[in-house]
Symmetry: C2
Subunit: 82 residues, 2 copies
């Protein structure tokens, strides 16, 4: 069994209204040192062994379902799970 951590972030050039809203709230709360906030997704997948390569499977799933590659980037890490 593998544990795969996927990090999905908005591309640099894409506006992040959710991040802007959070930054505004943090400033209102007095955290004026916060210069920028960007919000993305973090996914943890448990993947059972199969005849397919885990990297191929993860990349396919990211491109087909988990991310919108027009506006999002992703990276992932594969770990051995117990």
């Amino acid at each position: 069994m593998k544990k795969v951590k996927v990090y999905v972030t908005l591309r640099e050039s894409v506006l992040d209204p959710q991040g802007s809203a959070v930054k505004g709230s943090l400033h209102t709360m007095g955290y004026n040192e916060v210069a920028d906030v960007r919000i993305g997704k973090y996914l943890e997948l448990q993947i059972e062994p199969s005849e397919r390569d885990v990297n191929t499977v993860v990349r396919e799933m990211c491109e087909k379902l988990l991310t919108n590659t027009v506006i999002e980037d992703y990276r992932y890490e594969v770990e051995e799970a117990n």
Copy 2:
């Protein structure tokens, strides 16, 4: 300037309907090796130097606004940003 990466995950005991839906979709698409999906948030904060300690500030922000500590856990990493 520090770059802080915050990972917010649902606690183990909390159901994740969004993760279940994604798992169902992946199975429908033929990725039957996916045993579990959990979905969380990933935040990147840029924090300017201030008289306050960055760890204290990040922990406060997480507990007060960024996470719901009743149902979510968080961890974070502080990096030196350019």
